[in-house]
Symmetry: C2
Subunit: 356 residues, 2 copies
Amino acid sequence: MKKRIAVLPGDGIGKEVAKGAVEILQAVGERYNHQFEFSYGMIGGHAIDEKGKPLPEETIQLCKESDAILLGAVGGPKWDQVNPDIRPERGLLQIRKELNLYANLRPTTYFESLAKSSPLKDEVIQGVDLLMVRELTGGLYFGQPSERMDANGESAVVDTLFYKKAEMKRVIEKAFALAEKRRKKVTSIDKANVLESSRMWRETAEEVAKDYPHVYLEHMLVDNAAMQMVTNPKQFDVVVTENMFGDILSDEASVLTGSLGMLPSASLSENGPYLYEPIHGSAPDIAGKNVANPLAMILSAAMMLRESFGLETEANEVERAVKQVLDAGFRTSDIAEFSQQVTSTTEMIAEVKAML
Amino acid sequence: MKKRIAVLPGDGIGKEVAKGAVEILQAVGERYNHQFEFSYGMIGGHAIDEKGKPLPEETIQLCKESDAILLGAVGGPKWDQVNPDIRPERGLLQIRKELNLYANLRPTTYFESLAKSSPLKDEVIQGVDLLMVRELTGGLYFGQPSERMDANGESAVVDTLFYKKAEMKRVIEKAFALAEKRRKKVTSIDKANVLESSRMWRETAEEVAKDYPHVYLEHMLVDNAAMQMVTNPKQFDVVVTENMFGDILSDEASVLTGSLGMLPSASLSENGPYLYEPIHGSAPDIAGKNVANPLAMILSAAMMLRESFGLETEANEVERAVKQVLDAGFRTSDIAEFSQQVTSTTEMIAEVKAML
Ligand SMILES: CC(C)[C@H](C(=O)O)[C@@H](O)C(=O)O
Ligand SMILES: CC(C)[C@H](C(=O)O)[C@@H](O)C(=O)O
């Protein structure tokens, strides 16, 4: 198999972890006889410094010509004072829109060997295995108007939560399709007792459910979901929600099992390419020190092998290697316990490669 | 002191717990020589059944003529299919708007004797003492338009996040004033990297901070806040945010210490009356069984004594009595451990009264 992969390392630890994913993919390619071609593009603060904007045209072009995209992380204090229209995060929002990446998938999984770093009691998180599906190109993030205004002589402001029903439908359908291959339960989250958009969301979920008779659909209000995520995360299989609720709840979900530095994500479009990135940020405080945890990025590459290239065996291999490295006791500083020896970023990458 | 108190028991366990608060207030009144006059009003499903709407004019009138309001809880499956415009929750939203209850205060406190029922590890929650201040009369909850529409022939929907700067200012000021009497830290939560309304919110917080030189202001993005709430809730003193973020985060905060059935709330307006209610809902599944936990409602009455009537000693007395009852081992079923004997609602009320 021959595939072109766009690599956008971005800022902070993004570069270090992206390097790890590339090395692992190269090793997988050699072993299984695939040709992965890597091309590099700029995004985020790095792109602002070099090109004056967070998502240069060349990068968009490169992504569109690739079969899949690996993204490190963007942002850092250096660009915090920059005009909001060209801030690093703007590059993220723009790439989502340009490539129509409407469904963001974030698994939260329990790693037994990391349970000690979880803030939750072990009986609460043991066996958690949930997949958050977040709508990524609509809602408050992109609705117009989003501006200051004058309301009868008083200073005021408005943002707009806008959705087409078709935008709701495609992401909810994606959630059902994913649930069908898992434990067959979809929890759809909304605020139907307050928002008209949530009432349309709920109706749409009911309609989609008719096409998936083997999947159980349940509705949950967003405030209740924020509670249930902490008190009983095991109840969830696939969770689907709109953009802003998804931003909040998926970050909440990501800290439950104590393995934030371990969690990958995928953003899917209708016709590809898909984008893969770790959930963690650019962590400017530890950048360049060879201490970042590369596993979330490596697991994102595994998701790429599976979702974009259909390489199930290869994806499983990478995931198994990561698990084995953890079981063998290797820990970057974010997941190390008090007395444990700490492994550097490059060592961790080498260990995973050795286990392949 | 003579005070008129409006009591709106509402639905489900609302009636049972409201009765408890009234009994405790009567006991406090006798002991300290205050005259508390109680008048009853309808709200929620009960009001829909009797009057065809969730907040009848008589109730609004009663509230406006009172010095403070005690609310039990509203809602239940019986009214779930009712037209959204007259659903029980609509009564809540309407009373907030009618009485201009712009600031919702929700303390989350750690009760040592209840730590076992928390989903979090004890070292994470020990000593948590945070006060959530949520804007309650603006944002997505009330913005117009909120309606279905046609977008170039496609079915679509819009909700509106609207705020006047003055609405932001008054609730942020409230948060600073409260922080000044506590640990002097305000965490202001927004999504300033995406929303224009959040950028105005952040600026307003900076402006208000200038008038409170002894209070430390920090900004946090809402997604990060959803994580920090779980991983390190002790860092928070006063947290202030807009309506929808506050709905989600305050519910998340409420389950941290395992004492949801214990948590009171207050909703403040500019010139009174204020409204007090427990954070828990109407719990229709256990209604009428004399098993509900009345302590959140009783602690809401304590907040009323303090915030509305300035009766600090009396408020402290009630809070002390509740703590003593817990320390003595009395538990309603929601907070009982496996082997513990369970106390009924009415017994619990009697025990608190006996400790006064
Ligand atoms: C950086 C920010 C704009 C972004 C978002 O809110 O979507 C981030 O929080 C995320 O979840 O990917
Ligand atoms: C019932 C609902 C409308 C209400 C809200 O969202 O404000 C509730 O969740 C609350 O927090 O008081």
